[in-house]
C-alpha cells in the first residue's frame, strides 16, 4: 500500500505541478535519512539522486500533522461555496449569452479548477488522516491483543497450576491405607535408628516415614514367622497322616482278635461283642425306642435276669432315614421333575389312592423295632414287639406268647392268650384302642382316618404304659392328679414288667384251669383244700365263654350292668352247676386285670321255679359269699386260684342251699330230694332267714357270717 500511494503521489505531483520532478517519501520517515524498505527501485534511484542535489522535499505527511482538521473543514466549506458561486456566475454568464471561450468564463473556469485542486488536496488530506488514524488504531489494537493474549496465557497457566495444586492436595498416598500402630506405641516399641526421635519429633513427614519403616520391618518379621509356622504345620500334618494310617491298619487286627474272643465270651457269659453290636444298632433307633432299650437293658441287668432285649429290623433303612436332608432335597427335586414328566404321560392317580398313600405315609413305622422277651419260671415266654410310628410319635406293641406247655384243648380259653387282647387293661382303663397323643387327632383329620382302632391289629396297640416306657408323655383330656415325673421310663419299668409277667402267668394259669373246667373238674390245689368240705356233691356241668352281647341279654345280670361294672374289654363266661334237678346258672365277668380284680358272679337258680339273686335273699348271700371274700379265696400268692376257688365255693353253697331248703313247696310228702348232709348249727337266721354258707375249718360245720 505504501508503494501504491507513493506511486500515486508521485504521479500527481508530476501532473499538477509539472515543474520540478519531486519525489515524495514514504511515511513518517521525513526526519531521518533512512529509506523504507518497501520503496521501489525507481524511487530509490531518485531518492539517491535527489539526496545528492540538496533537493527540497515535500512531505505531505509532515504537513498533515501541522494542519488542523477544523481549518481544513472550514476551507473545504468555503471552497465548495466559492465553487458553487463560480458555477452560478458561469451559469449566469452563459445564460446572458456569453460565448464559448470567453475570458470571463475561462477565468471562472480556471478559478474553478483551482478550487477543484484544493478540494482534491483536501480529499487527499482527509484520506491520509483516515489512514493514519486507522494505522494508529490498528497498532493499538495489536498491542492490546498481545497483552490480551498474554493475559489469557497467564490465566490458563494459573488455572492449570491451581488444578495441579488441587490434585497434589488431594493426592492420597498409599501409605495412608496402611494401618500403623499409634504414635505412642511406635515411639515406645520401635528401635532408635528407625524412630529417630530427634528428627521425627518436629517433622510430621519424617515421623510418618519412620512409622512406615517400622511397619515394614514388623511385617517382614511376621511374614518370616508365618512361613516358618506353615512349614511346621505341614510337617505335623504329615505326621498325622502317618499315624492315621497306622491306626487304620490296627482296626482289622482288633476285629480279628474280637472274633477270636467270641467263644471265650460265651464261655464266661460276658457277651461284650453282642452288647457292642446292639449298642451300634441302637444308635439308629428313634429316641423313644432308644429310651426303652436303655431302660429295659438296665432293668434287666440290675433286677431281672429273665428279661432280654434285642433289636430287629433294617438298619440301612434306619440310616437312610437319619441322613441329612440336603441330599434328599436334591433327590426330591430331580424326582419331582421326573414324576411330572411321567404324570403327563399317564393319568394322575385318583383322589382315593392319593388319600390312601397319605394314610400309609402317616402310619409308617420306623424300620427298627425292639423285642423284649420276658421269661417266666415255668419256661413260657412273653414276647413283646415294640414299634415306633414316626409321624404320629407314638409307640405300639404287639405280643406273642410261647408257652412251655401245650395250650390246646381249652375251647373257652381261646380269648385268654389272644395277642390282641392279652395286654388289655394292664393298668386300669388302658384299652390301647386309641392313640394317646392328642396331636394325632389333627393329623388324622387331614387324611381322613376316623379312629386308630381300625389299624390297631396291623400296627399294634398304643397302650399308655408303652408310651411311658419310651419316655413319651402326653397331656390327657382329663386333668392328671399327679404331676409328670422326669424319669418317666425308669419309674414305670419295674411296675410294668411285674404286671406283664403277672399277666402272662395269670393267663397261662387260667388257660390250664379252663382246660380242666371244661372237663367239669374244678381244680383245687392242696393249699386251698381247707376252704371247702371234703364232700362236694354239686358239680360243674358246663363252662363256656360268652360274648358281651350275650351277657347283657341275661336278665339276672342287669344290676351289674347298671352299676357300671361291665366293660367291653371284660371276658364273660357261663358256668352251670347242677345237682339233681336243680340247675344254677352263674354268669361270670372276668376283668382283664384278673387276679387283681375279682371275677364277678351273678346267679340264677332253676329249681322248682326260677329265682335269682334279685328275688331270693339266699342267692344274694351266695353271690356275696363268692364275690366278696377274695382274701380267703385267692389262695397262695399270686392268687391265681381265685376263680377256681370261687367256683368250688359256689358248688358248696349250692349244696348247703339245696339241703337246707325245707320241703314244703308243693305239699308233697316223701323223701327230700337233697338229704341233709352238711353240718349246720342253725339253718336259718335273721328276719330273712339266711342259710349258713360259711364253712368253718377244721370243725367242718357251716355257720352264718
Amino acid at each position: 500500500m505504501s508503494s501504491d500511494t507513493l506511486k500515486k503521489r508521485k504521479a500527481k505531483v508530476i501532473r499538477s505541478d509539472g515543474g520540478t520532478p519531486e519525489t515524495k517519501r514514504g511515511r513518517g520517515e521525513g526526519d531521518q535519512g533512512r529509506f523504507p524498505a518497501g520503496v521501489s527501485n525507481v524511487d530509490q534511484k531518485k531518492l539517491l539522486s535527489v539526496k545528492n542535489k540538496e533537493v527540497r522535499v515535500y512531505n505531505e505527511e509532515v504537513e498533515l500533522e501541522g494542519r488542523d482538521p477544523e481549518q481544513d473543514y472550514v476551507l473545504y466549506k468555503s471552497t465548495c461555496d466559492s465553487l458553487a458561486k463560480l458555477m452560478a456566475e458561469i451559469q449566469e454568464l452563459k445564460a446572458n449569452g456569453a460565448k464559448e471561450g470567453s475570458e470571463e468564463v475561462e477565468e471562472k473556469l480556471r478559478q474553478g479548477c483551482v478550487h477543484f485542486i484544493t478540494l482534491k488536496k483536501l480529499n487527499r488530506l482527509a484520506h491520509m488522516r483516515l489512514k493514519k488514524g486507522r494505522d494508529q488504531t490498528h497498532e493499538a489494537k495489536q498491542k492490546v491483543d498481545v497483552l490480551h493474549l498474554q493475559l489469557q496465557n497467564l490465566l490458563y497457566e494459573v488455572m492449570h497450576l491451581q488444578k495441579e495444586i488441587g490434585k497434589c492436595l488431594e493426592f492420597k498416598s498409599q501409605h495412608e491405607e496402611i494401618e500403623l500402630v499409634s504414635v505412642d506405641d511406635f515411639l515406645r516399641d520401635a528401635p532408635a535408628e528407625i524412630s529417630r526421635p530427634h528428627l521425627t519429633k518436629d517433622d510430621p513427614h519424617q515421623l510418618t516415614l519412620a512409622r512406615l519403616d517400622w511397619e515394614l520391618e514388623q511385617r517382614k518379621r511376621l511374614a518370616e514367622q508365618y512361613k516358618s509356622s506353615l512349614c511346621s504345620k505341614e510337617k505335623i500334618l504329615k505326621g498325622i497322616e502317618l499315624k492315621k494310617e497306622y491306626l487304620g491298619s490296627l482296626q482289622p487286627g482288633l476285629h480279628a482278635i474280637m472274633q477270636a474272643s467270641l467263644p471265650v465270651q460265651e464261655y464266661l457269659s460276658m457277651p461284650f461283642e453282642r452288647v457292642q453290636k446292639q449298642a451300634e444298632v441302637a444308635r439308629h433307633l428313634p429316641p423313644p425306642l432308644y429310651v426303652l432299650f436303655v431302660q429295659a437293658n438296665a432293668y434287666g441287668q440290675a433286677c431281672d435276669k429273665n428279661l432280654s432285649v434285642s433289636i430287629s429290623g433294617d438298619v440301612d433303612e434306619a440310616k437312610a432315614l437319619s441322613r441329612p436332608p440336603e441330599d434328599s432335597q436334591d433327590d426330591e427335586s430331580d424326582s419331582d421333575a421326573e414324576e411330572e414328566q411321567q404324570n403327563t404321560k399317564r393319568r394322575r392317580a385318583t383322589v382315593g389312592v392319593q388319600l390312601d398313600d397319605k394314610r400309609k405315609e402317616m402310619l409308617k413305622r420306623h424300620p427298627l423295632s425292639l423285642c423284649i422277651d420276658l421269661k417266666c419260671k415255668d419256661g413260657s415266654v412273653l414276647h413283646l414287639f415294640f414299634y415306633y410310628l414316626m409321624n404320629l410319635n407314638i409307640l405300639t406293641v404287639k405280643t406273642k406268647v410261647s408257652a412251655s406247655a401245650d395250650l390246646s384243648g381249652a375251647v373257652s380259653a381261646g380269648e385268654l392268650l389272644n395277642s390282641e387282647s392279652l395286654l388289655n387293661c394292664l393298668y386300669a382303663s388302658d384299652h390301647g384302642q386309641e392313640t394317646p397323643n392328642p396331636a394325632n387327632r389333627y393329623q388324622f383329620d387331614k387324611v381322613g382316618i376316623i379312629t386308630f382302632a381300625d389299624y390297631v391289629s396291623q400296627l399294634g396297640h398304643p397302650y399308655n404304659w408303652v408310651q411311658c416306657l419310651g419316655g413319651l408323655q402326653f397331656s390327657s383330656d382329663r386333668p392328671q392328679a399327679e404331676g409328670a415325673c422326669s424319669s418317666l421310663s425308669a419309674s414305670h419299668m419295674e411296675a410294668t414288667m411285674k404286671l406283664l409277667r403277672g399277666r402272662l402267668q395269670s393267663r397261662l394259669a387260667l388257660h390250664k384251669q379252663f382246660g380242666s373246667l371244661e372237663h367239669s373238674i374244678v381244680p383245687v390245689s392242696s393249699e386251698c383244700q381247707h376252704l371247702f368240705p371234703a364232700k362236694v356233691v354239686s358239680r360243674l356241668a358246663r363252662w363256656t365263654m360268652m360274648s358281651h352281647q350275650d351277657f347283657l341279654e341275661l336278665h339276672f345280670v342287669q344290676h351289674v350292668a347298671k352299676a357300671g361294672l361291665v366293660k367291653e374289654t371284660d371276658l364273660f363266661f357261663m358256668a352251670i352247676v347242677e345237682r339233681g334237678t336243680a340247675r344254677l346258672q352263674a354268669a361270670v365277668v372276668l376283668n382283664p386285670r384278673y387276679p387283681e380284680i375279682t371275677p364277678l358272679f351273678s346267679l340264677s337258680l332253676l329249681w322248682k321255679g326260677e329265682r335269682s339273686g334279685r328275688s331270693d335273699d339266699n342267692l344274694r348271700a351266695m353271690e356275696s359269699e363268692v364275690n366278696v371274700f377274695r382274701s380267703e379265696l385267692q389262695g397262695p400268692r399270686p392268687g391265681l386260684q381265685l376263680l377256681t376257688n370261687q367256683i368250688q365255693r359256689l358248688c358248696v353253697c349250692l349244696d348247703v342251699y339245696l339241703e337246707t331248703e325245707s320241703q314244703v313247696c308243693d305239699g308233697s310228702e316223701g323223701p327230700r330230694e337233697f338229704p341233709r348232709e352238711k353240718m349246720c348249727l342253725r339253718t336259718a337266721r335273721g328276719p330273712n332267714r339266711l342259710k349258713p354258707f360259711k364253712y368253718n375249718h377244721p370243725q367242718g360245720f357251716f355257720s352264718h357270717r
Binding site: 334279685r614 328275688s615 335273699d617 344274694r620 325245707s662 314244703v664 313247696c665 308243693d666 305239699g667 348249727l681 342253725r682 336259718a684 337266721r685 335273721g686 328276719p687 330273712n688 332267714r689 355257720s703 352264718h704
Partner: protein, 298 residues
C-alpha cells in the same frame, strides 16, 4: 346291702335305719321332705358302724335309739346323734349259754309299765332287761326255734312272741310264765305249707281285747297297721294294703326287690310318712299311702 330295721326319732324329724353290715344311718326327714330338697338331702346326715353283725332291730325310746347287733344291744342318744356324735351310751349283752355262735337279736320292744326292754333272738329265748339298772332280769324259754318277732299287749301286760318254729307264744309280763301257745300252722285255714310255718311278724291292736292279729307274711317279714288297714311288706317289691278279712286291697310298687321293714312315723304331724326298705340300699318314703314319693339312699 339289705336294710333290716328302721326307727323314727321321738321328735319325728329323723329316721334311723340299720343294714346288714352293722351300719346305722340317720336321715333328716325335715330336709328330705322340704320343698327345696336336693339329691343330697336324700343321703344320710350320719352313717356309722354300730355293730359287727347286721342290725336287725332298732327301737326308739323318748331319748335314745336302741340298736341290736350280734348278741348285743347298744343305746345311742338321739340328741348326740343329731349332733353327729357316735359314742354309744351303753352296750349290754344278754347272757347266752352257747359260745359256738353268737345269736342275733331279731326283735326288741319296750314295756313301758315296768320300763323293761324285751329282746328275742337267735337263742330261742326272750330276755328281759331292766332299762334303769341294765341287768337282765329274766329269760323266757319255750320256743324251739329262734324268735322272729315280739309284740306287747299293754293293757293285759302280755308279751307275744312269734318264732321260726311256727308257734305264737303269749307270756305274762309279770309272772314271766307262758300263758298260751298257738301253733298257727296246725290250723288248716291258716296253714301255708308252700311258704313255711315260720312267724315273721306280730302286731296287736289294743282296742280289741281278745283279738290278736297274727300274720305269716307270705315270705314277708314286717307289717304295720293303721286305722284298721294293714300294710304288709314281704318278698315281692310292693307294699300290700290288706283288710282285716285277709283280702288284699292294693299293692304299691317299691324299688327294692323284696322288703324287710316298714315303719310309720306317728310321732310327728308334719312328717307323717311311711317308709319301707329291704334288699337294696334304697328306703322308699310314702307321703301318701297310694304311691311312692321318693327314696332315701343309704
Amino acid at each position: 346291702m339289705s336294710v333290716f330295721s328302721q326307727s323314727f326319732s321321738p321328735c319325728g324329724r329323723f329316721l334311723a335305719a340299720g343294714n346288714n353290715y352293722g351300719e346305722i344311718a340317720i336321715f333328716s326327714l325335715s330336709a328330705a321332705l322340704s320343698p327345696d330338697a336336693t339329691d343330697l338331702s336324700q343321703k344320710p346326715i350320719l352313717t356309722f358302724t354300730a355293730h359287727e353283725g347286721p342290725v336287725f332291730a332298732l327301737l326308739s325310746t323318748d331319748t335314745h335309739l336302741l340298736s341290736a347287733g350280734n348278741g348285743e344291744i347298744s343305746a345311742w342318744s338321739w340328741v348326740e346323734l343329731t349332733k353327729r356324735s357316735t359314742k354309744a351310751v351303753w352296750t349290754r349283752r344278754p347272757n347266752y349259754k352257747s359260745s359256738l355262735e353268737i345269736p342275733e337279736i331279731n326283735a326288741m320292744i319296750i314295756n313301758p309299765k315296768d320300763n323293761s326292754l324285751i329282746v328275742g333272738g337267735g337263742d330261742n329265748n326272750i330276755h328281759i332287761m331292766d332299762m334303769e339298772t341294765g341287768t337282765f332280769k329274766s329269760v323266757l324259754q319255750g320256743h324251739t326255734d329262734y324268735i322272729h318277732c315280739l309284740a306287747l299287749k299293754e293293757r293285759e301286760g302280755e308279751i307275744l312272741s312269734g318264732g321260726e318254729d311256727g308257734a305264737v307264744r303269749i307270756w305274762d309280763s309279770r309272772t314271766r310264765q307262758a300263758v298260751h301257745c298257738i301253733e298257727v300252722f296246725k290250723y288248716e285255714e291258716c296253714a301255708r305249707p308252700q311258704f313255711g310255718k315260720w312267724i315273721s311278724c306280730l302286731a296287736t291292736d289294743s282296742d280289741w281285747m281278745r283279738k290278736l292279729l297274727v300274720f305269716l307274711s307270705w315270705g314277708g317279714p314286717d307289717e304295720s297297721q293303721f286305722h284298721h288297714n294293714i300294710f304288709a311288706v314281704g318278698e315281692g317289691p310292693h307294699v300290700s294294703h290288706c283288710l282285716l278279712g285277709g283280702s288284699v286291697k292294693a299293692q304299691i310298687p317299691c324299688t327294692s326287690p323284696s322288703l324287710n321293714t316298714l315303719a310309720l312315723n306317728l310321732s310327728s304331724t308334719e312328717h307323717r310318712v311311711m317308709t319301707a326298705a329291704g334288699s337294696s340300699d334304697k328306703i322308699d318314703v310314702f307321703t301318701n299311702f297310694s304311691y311312692r314319693a321318693f327314696s332315701l339312699s343309704f
